[in-house]
C-alpha cells in the first residue's frame, strides 16, 4: 500500500509509525525523486508501504506528481492511505477527490485533528466518511492517536474490500462530455480507469493525450472539440473549469462536515507568524536565528572535532608502534584511515547538528517564512525564495544542498541553484576562513571574505541567470501554521540525510586521500607543486608549497589548512616567512572559491550530469585563480 497527500500534513510521521525501523530510502528508478519504502508488520500481516512525495495535485506539472500518478494508476497498490490535514480540509480534499477518480481503494487518515481543534475547527468524520464513501480515520500522528485504528482499517479494506467510493459528478456541461469520452476510451487497452482518462483528456493533459494519440487519434480530436465547447460555454479553458469545479466540490464537502468556532484571542502561533514575516522586524529576527544557529553549530563542531582529533592522534601512536613506519603502513594510515577519520571529523561534529537544526526549523514552518522574506532578493539572480534555503543548507555542506536543488521547479532553475550553492562556503571552508584569516589577520577580514563571497554569488548568479535564457518561475508555496516539530521524525530525517552523505562522500574521500598519499610516497608532490608555481607563486604571490595544499583541498577543503601546518611544520602561521596577512587572505580567498570538493562534484554529477559538473568545477577553479591574483595586487597596493 502507499501513503499519499499534500506536503506538510504529517505523512512522514505516519509513515514512521507504520513502518518503525523497517525503512529504506532510495530513488525512483531513473529519477532524482526520493522513494521511501518500509514494511508494516501488523497482526501477522506483512505489508509493504511506500511513502509517495508530498504533492497538491495529480496533474503532470512536476516530476513528483507524475511519479505518484503513474505509481497509483499503473502499479495499482492494494490501498492508498490519503493523509489529510484536518486544519486545511478544503485544499486537502481537492487531492482526495483526484485520488478517488483514479479508482484505487482509499482510506483517509484525517490527521492533525489537534491542530484543527486549536484553530477552532470541528470535523464530523463520520459524515465525511458517508459523503466520500471511503473509510475516514481521525488521527493525531504526533501523539500516535488513531494509528492503531488506521492500521486496522487499512488491513480490513485490503482483505475485505470496501464499497465503491462516491462518484464525483461535475457540472452538467462537463459531465455529459466526460461520459461520452469515457465510453470511447473504455474500448482502448489502457492501464488507467476510463473515466479518469477522459477527464485528463479534457484537461489537455499532455502525457495522457500522447498515450491515447498512439492508439486512437480520433478520441484525442474529439476531446479537443469537447474542450473547446466547454471553453466557449464558460469563458475559461476547459482545464480551468474542471479544476475549479473540483475545488468547488471539495469546498462544499468541507463546509458540510466542519464547524468553525471563532477564536477569542489571537493564538501564539499567529503572533509568531506576524513577527517572522514582518516587513521590518522579520529581517533582524531571521538574521538572529541564522547567526545563533551557525554560532551554536560551529562552537559545538569545533569542540567535538578537536576532541575527535586528539583521540585519533592517540590512536595513531598505537598504530605506529604496532605497524611501524614502512611504506605500506604509511599508505594505509595516510590514505585509508586518515580519509576515514577526515570524513568522520567533518560529518559527526558539523553535519549532524546542522541537519537536526535544519529539519527542526523546516518542520516547524520557519523555513518557508525565510523563503517568503528572501524571495525578492533571490529573484535578482533568477531564483525564488526557496533557493535561499538551499544556500543556507550549503553553509553546512554543499553536498546535501546540491542534492536538495531538486525542489526547484524547472531544469534551468535546478542548474542555476546548484551552481550558486557550490559557491557558498561550507563548514569546512569556514574552518579555513576563521582558522587562518580570522585568527591571524583579524576577524573583520574574515567577515569581509564572507561578504566578498556573497557578492561573487550575486554577480555570478546574475550573469548565469542572463546567460541561461528563460522565464523564471515565481514563488508559490503554502505557509502552514507554526507547530512543534515531531522530534523523532526530525531525527530520522537527519539520519537518512547523514546516511546519504556517508554513502556518497566517504568512498570518494578515502579513495582521494589514498591517491594523494600515493603520489606523496612516490615523491611526486614537490614536482607537481613546481609545475603549479607559475600560478601559485607568480600570479597569486603565494609560497610554492601552497600548490600542494590546494591539491589536497580537492578532497576536503579544510585539508588545505591542515596540510599547510604540516608542511610549514608549525601551527603558528604568523611565524612563517613569506606568508603574511596578504598571502593568508589570498590563499583563503582562492581556497574558498576554487573548487567544489570531490564529494560536491559527485553530487553535482549525480544531479546535473558529468558534463555540467566538470564545467562548474573548471569554471570555479579558473575564476578563483583570476580573482585571487587580482586580490593579491590590490592588497599589495594598499601596502598591507
Amino acid at each position: 500500500m502507499s501513503l499519499a497527500g499534500n506536503a506538510n500534513v504529517g505523512k512522514s510521521v505516519i509513515f514512521n509509525h507504520l513502518t518503525g525501523l523497517h525503512q529504506h530510502i532510495g530513488n525512483w528508478p531513473g529519477k532524482t525523486v526520493e522513494k521511501a519504502e518500509g514494511t508494516l508488520h501488523f497482526k501477522g500481516h506483512t505489508i509493504d508501504v511506500i511513502d509517495l512525495p508530498g504533492i497538491y495535485s495529480l496533474s503532470t506539472f512536476s516530476i513528483e506528481e507524475l511519479i505518484s500518478r503513474e505509481y497509483i494508476a499503473v502499479e495499482n497498490p492494494d490501498l492508498v492511505i490519503n493523509v489529510v490535514d484536518a486544519s486545511v480540509l478544503e485544499r486537502n480534499l481537492f487531492f482526495t477527490l483526484q485520488l478517488m477518480e483514479l479508482e484505487t481503494p482509499i482510506v483517509v487518515a484525517l490527521n492533525q485533528m489537534d491542530m484543527a481543534k486549536k484553530k477552532g475547527i470541528r470535523i464530523d468524520h463520520e459524515k465525511l466518511e458517508k459523503i466520500l464513501g471511503v473509510p475516514v480515520v481521525p488521527t493525531v500522528a504526533t501523539s500516535r492517536a488513531g494509528i492503531y485504528e488506521l492500521m486496522q482499517t487499512s488491513v480490513d479494506v485490503v482483505e475485505k474490500g470496501v464499497g465503491k467510493p462516491t462518484k464525483i459528478r461535475y457540472g452538467e456541461e462537463v459531465e455529459t462530455r466526460i461520459q461520452k469520452l469515457s465510453e470511447m476510451v473504455s474500448k482502448l487497452q489502457l492501464p488507467y480507469p476510463a473515466r479518469w482518462a477522459a477527464i485528463k483528456l479534457l484537461e489537455e493533459d499532455e502525457h495522457i493525450e500522447g498515450r491515447i494519440r498512439q492508439l486512437d487519434l480520433k478520441i484525442v480530436s474529439a476531446a479537443r472539440e469537447f474542450a473547446e465547447e466547454i471553453e466557449r460555454i464558460h469563458g475559461h479553458s476547459c482545464s480551468t473549469v474542471i479544476t475549479s469545479e473540483r475545488y468547488e466540490i471539495a469546498g462544499r464537502i468541507a463546509r458540510e462536515v466542519q464547524q468553525i468556532v471563532r477564536l477569542r484571542k489571537v493564538p501564539m502561533r499567529e503572533r509568531l507568524h506576524a513577527l517572522t514575516t514582518h516587513k521590518i522586524l522579520g529581517y533582524p529576527v531571521m538574521v538572529a536565528v541564522i547567526l545563533s544557529v551557525f554560532f551554536a553549530i560551529f562552537s559545538f563542531g569545533d569542540y567535538t572535532s578537536q576532541l575527535l582529533g586528539t583521540l585519533f592522534e592517540n590512536f595513531y601512536s598505537i598504530y605506529e608502534s604496532v605497524f611501524g613506519t614502512g611504506i605500506l603502513a604509511t599508505l594505509i594510515w595516510g590514505g585509508i584511515i586518515e580519509g576515514l577519520v577526515a570524513g568522520i571529523t567533518i560529518a559527526l561534529p558539523y553535519l549532524i547538528p546542522f541537519y537536526l537544526v535544519l529539519y527542526f526549523l523546516e518542520d516547524s514552518g520557519y523555513l518557508s517564512r525565510i523563503a517568503f522574506l528572501m524571495d525578492s532578493l533571490m529573484h535578482k539572480i533568477g531564483l525564488h525564495g526557496k533557493a535561499f534555503i538551499l544556500m543556507m543548507l550549503g553553509y553546512g555542506c554543499n553536498v546535501p544542498a546540491c542534492l536538495g536543488c531538486r525542489i526547484m521547479e524547472t531544469e534551468r532553475e535546478r542548474f542555476l541553484a546548484t551552481f550558486v550553492v557550490t559557491l557558498v562556503p561550507c563548514a569546512a571552508t569556514s574552518v579555513i576562513i576563521l582558522g587562518l584569516v580570522g585568527a591571524y589577520v583579524g576577524f573583520q577580514w574574515a567577515l569581509l571574505l564572507y561578504v566578498v563571497d556573497l557578492l561573487v554569488i550575486f554577480v555570478l548568479g546574475r550573469i548565469a541567470f542572463k546567460v541561461l535564457r528563460g522565464e523564471p518561475t515565481g514563488l508559490i508555496m503554502e505557509m502552514h501554521d507554526y507547530r512543534m516539530p515531531h522530534l523523532k521524525t526530525v531525527v530520522k530525517q537527519a539520519w537518512f540525510r547523514l546516511k546519504e552523505f556517508v554513502i556518497m562522500a566517504f568512498p570518494l574521500i578515502i579513495a582521494g586521500s589514498f591517491i594523494i598519499k600515493l603520489v606523496d610516497v612516490l615523491g611526486l608532490l614537490e614536482p607537481i607543486a613546481d609545475v603549479l608555481s607559475p600560478v601559485t607563486v607568480v600570479w597569486l604571490g603565494l609560497p610554492t608549497i601552497t600548490g600542494i595544499t590546494l591539491i589536497f583541498g580537492v578532497i576536503r577543503k579544510e585539508l588545505t589548512l591542515l596540510m599547510l601546518s604540516t608542511l610549514f611544520g608549525t601551527t603558528n602561521f604568523a611565524s612563517v616567512a613569506g606568508f603574511g596577512p596578504v598571502q593568508m587572505i589570498v590563499f583563503t580567498l582562492v581556497a574558498m572559491l576554487y573548487i567544489p570538493c570531490i564529494s560536491t562534484i559527485a553530487a553535482l554529477a549525480k544531479e546535473q550530469g558529468w558534463k555540467r559538473a566538470f564545467f562548474v568545477t573548471f569554471f570555479e577553479i579558473a575564476f578563483a585563480i583570476f580573482l585571487g591574483g587580482i586580490a593579491y595586487r590590490i592588497l599589495m597596493l594598499t601596502g598591507m
Binding site: 482545464s239 479544476t243 475545488y247 517568503f372 522574506l373 524571495d375 525564495g385 521547479e409 515565481g474
Partner: protein, 96 residues
C-alpha cells in the same frame, strides 16, 4: 483598471492592500496564442489553479513582503505565499 459592474472594480491581485478582499476573475496567460500555450503559460497557470486559485475564488491579501517581494494571501482556508510576478497576472474583482 476596468469598470465592469457598478459595484465592483477589477484590479490586479498585486494591487490589493493588506486586508483587502477580492474574487478571482481570471489568470492572464503569458502568451495568448493557443499553439504556444503548452510551452509558456501552461505550467504557471496550472500550478496556481492546483493550489486553489481558480476563477470565482475569494482571496484576502494578508501582507506583502518589502522590496517588491511576494504577497501573502489567505485562500480556501490556508495561507499561501505568491511571487509578485504571479500576483500581477491574477485579476480580481473588488467591491467598491
Amino acid at each position: 483598471m476596468l469598470q465592469t459592474e457598478e459595484a465592483t472594480l477589477e484590479k490586479k491581485l498585486s494591487e490589493l492592500k493588506p486586508g483587502e478582499k477580492g474574487v478571482i476573475v481570471s489568470i492572464q496567460a503569458l502568451t495568448v496564442h493557443r499553439r504556444h500555450r503548452h510551452r509558456h503559460s501552461w505550467g504557471f497557470q496550472r500550478r496556481l489553479e492546483d493550489m486553489g486559485l481558480t476563477p470565482g475564488t475569494k482571496v484576502i491579501v494578508v501582507k506583502s513582503a518589502p522590496f517588491h517581494g511576494p504577497i501573502e494571501i489567505y485562500v480556501r482556508g490556508s495561507r499561501l505565499a505568491i511571487g509578485r510576478g504571479m500576483a500581477e497576472r491574477i485579476l480580481v474583482s473588488v467591491e467598491k
